[in-house]
């Protein structure tokens, strides 16, 4: 479902398949009303989430990134969230240095039954991101965008050659 331009921001969620994805499902089954900005990517475990996923998302224009997994000691793979906790806590220090507000990133623990908690997490986090507004964009949209979107290609015009 495309982003509702102007109303929604790009918020990406990396959810662990065993707990938080289940929690989000429970919230959905429970018909809890929550903001719709979040786009969820399912991962086997928070331990599988490479902090580079999060940085790549921000550099590609995500306004906010949320990571959610099993509570410590509930991890399906027993250690995944322990490693993730350290990595993501370290990653938090990198964001401000490159000019991204650290509040644009959060990680938390939501189990499969905590539909209500998931709704609160999504609401609070989306409010937090809307308060910050869109992430700063690079001046140059990039070679692909300039060549294809018909904008003035700094190195020449573009015209369709063959049908």
């Amino acid at each position: 479902m495309p982003i509702l331009e102007g109303k929604e921001l790009h918020i990406i969620g990396f959810l662990c398949n065993w707990c938080s994805y289940g929690g989000a499902d429970t919230a959905g089954v429970g018909r809890f009303v929550q903001p719709t900005d979040l786009r969820i990517i399912k991962t086997p475990c928070t331990g599988r989430i490479n902090p580079l996923f999060i940085m790549r998302a921000f550099l590609n224009g995500a306004d906010g990134v949320l990571v959610s997994g099993c509570h410590p000691r509930d991890c399906h793979y027993s250690q995944g969230n322990f490693f993730a906790r350290r990595r993501l806590e370290v990653l938090r220090a990198l964001l401000p240095v490159v000019g991204i507000a650290p509040e644009r990133f959060a990680y938390t623990w939501v189990s499969a039954s905590e539909g209500q908690r998931w709704k609160t997490v999504v609401e609070r986090f989306t409010e937090q991101i809307h308060a910050l507004g869109p992430i700063p964009a690079f001046a140059d949209p990039g070679r692909i965008e300039t060549c294809l979107r018909g904008q003035a290609n700094p190195y020449g015009g573009s015209h369709a050659l063959t049908a």
């Binding site: 350290r86 220090a93 490159v98």
Partner: protein, 323 residues
């Protein structure tokens, strides 16, 4: 009392027979630069040089010399690199013979050229450091610079100038470089800016990056530089367009791949032809790791880097409250 250089040469002369090679510094293309010297014969020993221009960290060559008995001369920061490589078993302690030195600080040729008047870009005479001043002859005048105008940033707040872990310590241990007022370094300058301004700073800096990957190839920890994530097509982390976003993504990759491992030896910044402050990202992560886990890389060969392990109860990481 023989000079430290003589003492170093004697130490190496004695050790060389049962080593395949000793890594030290030799004369570089100009008097402000030294280049790695691979000593394999007694004749090479006379080419050894030791002065504040010996900035290259020789530890990076160790991982390419596995299986050989190698001697290496190290400053304080270089020594931390060797310890980190031993911690991660990327280098076998038994294969390495370490000659440690006290370092008085190392000169950054780019910083010296920048402080000199425009036309003094010619050659420089030999340089000497004494009581916080650096003296050398440039082809137009005699130069006399304060240490803070010529040393690498890392040397201006160096905490352990003596090689802490070595087989032979050459000469006396000493104090860190005498720096009266160290100008703010890249990380401090960045943190004095607002967020948007920092973002624009990196956008400008990365525009200058020519993507030569000297920062990666100079890093002693980058043992997988020949098949690096940044040049992989699958997964396609970084595309080949010359855009600040992609080049900044590589700096993020380098910072996160050395998180909890980087010893701030400064090689990435020293190697960068465009003089970009790429170590600022790693120093920010090191500060966070020090605060979270009370840990600094490269001090204890037995220590396990923090991100290689975990604790069920982390004493300094709490849970985010949402209500």
């Amino acid at each position: 009392m023989p000079s430290r250089l003589e003492e170093l040469k004697d130490g190496i002369r004695k050790a060389l027979p049962d080593l395949d090679m000793v890594l030290a510094w030799g004369q570089g293309p100009d008097s402000l630069r030294r280049k790695p010297l691979f000593i394999v014969s007694q004749a090479d020993i006379d080419k050894i040089v030791w002065d504040p221009c010996c900035s290259p960290n020789l530890a990076g060559y160790l991982t390419g010399l596995r299986g050989k008995k190698v001697g290496i001369v190290v400053k304080g920061c270089d020594c931390r690199s060797v310890v980190e490589l031993i911690q991660e078993k990327l280098v076998d302690r038994a294969e390495v013979t370490i000659f440690g030195l006290h370092c008085e600080g190392t000169i950054d040729p780019a910083k010296v050229r920048a402080t000199l008047p425009g036309d003094a870009r010619g050659a420089f005479g030999d340089c000497r450091v004494s009581d916080g001043r650096i003296r050398f002859a440039s082809d137009t005048s005699l130069q006399n610079l304060a240490a803070s105008d010529a040393f690498y940033d890392k040397c201006l707040h160096c905490s352990d100038p003596n090689a802490g872990f070595c087989d032979y310590f050459i000469g006396e241990r000493g104090t860190p470089p005498p720096v009266s007022t160290a100008p703010p370094d890249a990380l401090e300058r960045l943190e004095a800016m607002g967020l948007e301004e920092r973002f624009r700073f990196w956008e400008q800096a990365m525009d200058r990056c020519v993507r030569c990957y000297a920062c990666r190839n100079a890093c002693p920890l980058c043992v997988c530089k020949d098949h690096c994530l940044a040049q992989s097509r699958d997964p396609h982390w970084v595309d080949q367009t010359d855009h600040p976003r992609e080049k900044l993504m590589f700096q993020v990759i380098h910072a996160l791949h050395t998180a909890g491992r980087c010893v701030e030896c400064g090689e990435c910044e020293r190697a960068c032809p465009m003089g970009l402050p790429v170590m600022a990202l790693k120093r920010a992560l090191n500060r966070q790791i020090n605060e979270l886990f009370d840990y600094r890389a490269g001090l204890d060969p037995e220590a396990i880097p923090p991100l290689f392990t975990f604790r069920e109860e982390e004493d300094r990481i709490g849970e985010k409250k949402w209500s």
